[in-house]
């Protein structure tokens, strides 16, 4: 079978499952008894196995199969979770990751059989219950969750759960009166079966040769869509004896078991009605299936099929709370989104031109204005939607960190914990993809250089277990990601000494350096303060790479540190890269744009209120002293304004710092498309880009961050 076209999907989904397994096994380590976690792990391992099998990756399939066996024993309570088992499982995940990497690079899983791992897995299995694993057929997850929720006697007789509508009951009664038999069947598909829907179809066909299927659970449509776990139930009317019907079903390969029994239609009818309660006459099979599930939350099938109705979803949450909601998604090439984004940009420029053309013509009627306003709202929401499409939660990147910190704990021999918050914060896809490495480096840095060893921590009266925090949140038009630790903080004196030793600065320079400048030395290329080179960090490549990477994403890094109390690294990233809301201002005869995101307030200040502090102009605003920046001086233009007139001050902020930018005149708010000035004019740091205005002119965008 040619599976190459599915390769990408396979790789994507495998990564998702591996990530999920990593997370779940970590939480299993925390609370070994959590049934939900174990079920989730089992499911993920099972899907992995199925996918690997479909794609023909035998080694991967073997390994996942053995892992699955272990999980299944854990779930049955035959094995208890131990530390060494978690270690083995993590090694297995690493091995699986290796397979995936090989597949990604060479479209082949490689030749590593990972036999030692498989052996270890088998040892865990055998160490449990004297070969019990061999004898007992592995029960399905559904049964388990069902049993956990409500121990039901009819585990193998699920057909009794089928709710019948009037029409089915009539059919059944008629059949009995004609001397035919009514059977209930529950067909169990083998766990390893890949094309369950196809097998089910064959079962249907085989049974239809002996009789007539009047209803199934889940509905025939759901079975066709593979919306069932490992079993499905049928009610069959047949002339043939029960044995023959069961044999027909069993003749299909990959069917594990078929259970059946005769049904007394009269009895069933009343039972169903009692059970269903308010569901008086569900006519169609599908509906009947649904009502069955909502009326009996413990029904095994409920935990299997993907959510179909809200009601069912609620039930599902009750029985298996960790089951992820399956979303309907389309995978789109990021390049197509880029093209779309560019088109939206063009559209916004065209719209802006239309606005100024209509203003210039002077004949604008109300109708034209109305339409322009409508167009404006449409383009704005179009832009927002396209932006949203490109946004993904940073979760996909940060979720691998807990595992990394766990491993670091072992390699470094320090006790530490990672606390994360704001994983749902969304960022542009390209940014999310790129931010992983810098963050990983900062975390390693915190773990290696930041946190002290347990003994030192004890001495200093800190909790023995060090904490590393990763917090993400949105701040205006920026997303802030903070990596914090409660470790030693940055020893600026040591940093300066090191810098002198490395010849980065002279001793004279060091004397006059502020704390902040000293910390900035860390970002100097080729700087590393670790006395011993460990394989975690300290190779001298790193923080400068972190900084340049973040700056390449138009972001910035800020460091705050207190010796002995810890340090925090604050990464600030722009939410959008292409289109922003900006305030247009006049300075001299030139127009400039200031990003609305960095603007806090706009003030009208009398020249008398401007005070001098250290020969620099400041204003006092609500008890805060804010330095004034006269933009016309910085930009070398002559102000048109009379110095005696009131000043128009745009107060901008960067982190917790503020500054007042003095401009001549405000023009208004506008949505602008950011264009790069190109490499050729890159020297000008205070200009972050340019934009094309409605009249075709170019206006420059001021970067308030570099002005402060």
């Amino acid at each position: 079978m040619d599976v190459s076209q599915y390769l990408e999907i396979f790789l994507d989904e495998t990564n998702e499952h591996l990530q999920n397994l990593n997370t779940q096994i970590l939480s299993l380590e925390q609370e070994p008894g959590n049934m939900d976690t174990i079920n989730e792990i089992f499911r993920a391992a099972h899907s992995l196995k199925g996918m690997a099998g479909t794609m023909g990756y035998k080694r991967m399939q073997n390994l996942t199969h053995d892992m699955e066996n272990v999980f299944s024993e854990v779930r049955n309570g035959n094995i208890t979770v131990k530390a060494n088992m978690i270690d083995v499982l993590f090694q297995c995940l690493d091995a699986l990751e290796e397979y995936t990497t090989n597949i990604r690079e060479n479209a082949d899983e490689g030749t590593n059989d990972n036999e030692p791992l498989i052996k270890q897995l088998n040892d865990i299995l055998n160490g449990s219950d004297s070969g019990n694993a061999e004898e007992q057929p592995t029960p399905e997850p559904t049964e388990d969750s069902a049993a956990a929720a409500a121990p039901s006697a009819n585990e193998d007789r699920k057909w009794t759960d089928i709710k019948l509508g009037d029409s089915e009951q009539t059919v059944m009664k008629e059949a009995v009166s004609q001397g035919k038999n009514v059977y209930g069947l529950t067909v169990k598909v083998q766990e390893s079966c890949i094309l369950k829907a196809a097998r089910a179809f064959l079962v249907f066909k085989a049974i239809e040769e002996t009789g007539e299927i009047i209803i199934s659970s889940p509905s025939a449509q759901d079975i066709e869509d593979e919306k069932f776990d490992l079993d499905f139930s049928l009610i069959v009317i047949s002339d043939a004896p029960l044995d023959k019907v069961i044999a027909a079903a069993k003749s299909v390969s990959e069917i594990e078991d078929v259970k059946g029994g005769a049904i007394d239609p009269n009895h069933v009818a009343s039972a169903a009605e009692n059970d269903a309660g308010e569901e008086t006459a569900p006519a169609e099979p599908a509906k009947a299936g649904e009502s069955q599930k909502s009326a009996a939350p413990a029904a095994p099938a409920a935990s299997a099929a993907p959510a179909r109705s809200g009601k069912k979803k609620a039930d599902e949450k009750k029985t298996t709370p960790t089951k992820p909601v399956v979303n309907r998604t389309v995978r789109v090439d990021i390049e197509k989104l880029d093209t779309l984004m560019n088109l939206v940009s063009e559209l916004i420029i065209a719209k802006n031109s239309l606005v100024s053309a209509s203003a210039a013509s002077g004949t604008s009627s109300t109708a034209v204005n109305e339409q322009i306003e409508y167009l404006e709202s449409v383009t704005t929401s179009l832009h927002e939607s396209v932006m949203k499409v490109r946004m993904v939660p940073i979760e996909s990147t940060v979720s691998k960190f807990p595992r990394m910190v766990r491993d670091l704990q072992k390699t470094l021999g320090k006790k530490m914990e990672l606390h994360m918050s704001g994983e749902e914060t969304e960022l542009d896809r390209t940014v999310v993809d790129e931010i992983g490495d810098p963050l990983m480096h900062l975390l390693r840095n915190s773990a290696d250089h930041g946190l002290e060893s347990a003994e030192v921590r004890k001495e200093r009266g800190k909790p023995e277990v060090g904490s590393i925090f990763l917090d993400a949140y949105q701040d205006g038009n920026n997303v802030v990601i903070e990596v914090r630790d409660d470790g030693n903080g940055i020893d600026t004196q040591a940093v300066r000494d090191k810098a002198i030793e490395k010849g980065i600065i002279t001793p004279e320079q060091a004397e006059n350096m502020s704390e902040k400048d000293s910390i900035d030395l860390l970002f100097h290329a080729g700087f590393s303060t670790a006395k011993v080179v460990s394989d975690v960090s300290g190779r001298g490549v790193g923080l400068d790479v972190v900084k340049s990477k973040i700056e390449a994403l138009s972001g910035e890094v800020e460091v705050k540190s207190k010796l002995g109390e810890g340090s925090s690294w604050i990464i600030r990233l722009p939410l959008t890269l292409a289109i922003i809301q900006a305030l247009m201002v006049d300075i001299g005869n030139e127009k400039y744009a200031i990003s609305l995101g960095s603007i806090q307030t706009i003030e009208d200040i009398s020249p008398d209120d401007v005070k001098l502090v250290q020969a620099k102009e400041v204003i006092q605003l609500r008890d805060i002293v804010i330095p004034l920046i006269r933009l016309n001086e910085i930009l070398d233009v002559e102000s048109k304004k009379d110095p005696k007139e009131n000043l128009v001050v745009v107060v901008v902020k960067k982190g917790d710092k503020q500054a007042g930018l003095v401009v001549d005149e405000l023009i208004g708010q506008q949505e602008i498309v950011i264009k790069s000035l190109g490499k050729y004019i890159s020297k000008c740091k205070i200009i972050s880009g340019a934009t094309v205005l409605g009249d075709g002119e170019v206006a420059l965008i001021l970067d308030a961050n570099t002005l402060i």
Partner: protein, 152 residues
């Protein structure tokens, strides 16, 4: 016969002749993307004086430089015949240069071009890559890479 033909085709170059003051300069046509009329140039602060600013060319923001200032001539005086020639260069990307006038396109054969020796110490010559002889007149052929090279 064949050889000769190939030789002739291979060794002609087309130049656009422009005027800066009284002198005629030639720009290799393969670098030229477009020629546009003079338009408003948005000044960019804090850059080298020969960088006049940026213009909008069909939605793209393009830097514009003055060859005159770069070569140490008198600053440009905008007239009706002033044009911006948009160059597409491999390294620097798209750049506009201001010229006083665009005259014509000439095709020069190889033997009509006289290479300039690199040991020339004259500053102005470092912007040229040769001299073209055509209809009795002389055309200074611009070395575009040297012209747009950033001052260090």
């Amino acid at each position: 016969m064949m050889d000769e033909e190939l030789k002739v085709v291979g060794e002609t170059t087309q130049f656009i002749v422009i005027k800066l003051g009284d002198e005629q300069y030639g720009i290799d046509i393969k670098f030229i993307d477009n020629i546009v009329r003079m338009q408003h140039i948005t000044r960019v602060p804090k850059v080298d004086p020969y960088l006049k600013g940026v213009i909008n060319l069909r939605g793209e923001v393009i830097p514009v430089m003055s060859i005159r200032i770069k070569m140490g001539l008198e600053p440009d005086v905008e007239t009706k015949s002033s044009r911006i020639i948009i160059l597409k260069l491999e390294q620097q990307g798209t750049i506009g240069v201001i010229v006083d006038e665009v005259k014509e396109v000439v095709t020069l054969e190889n033997d009509q071009i006289e290479k300039i020796a690199y040991d020339s110490m004259e500053d102005k010559n470092s912007f040229l890559c040769g001299i073209g002889k055509c209809d009795g007149g002389l055309i200074s052929l611009l070395d575009l890479n040297a012209v747009v090279m950033e001052n260090v």
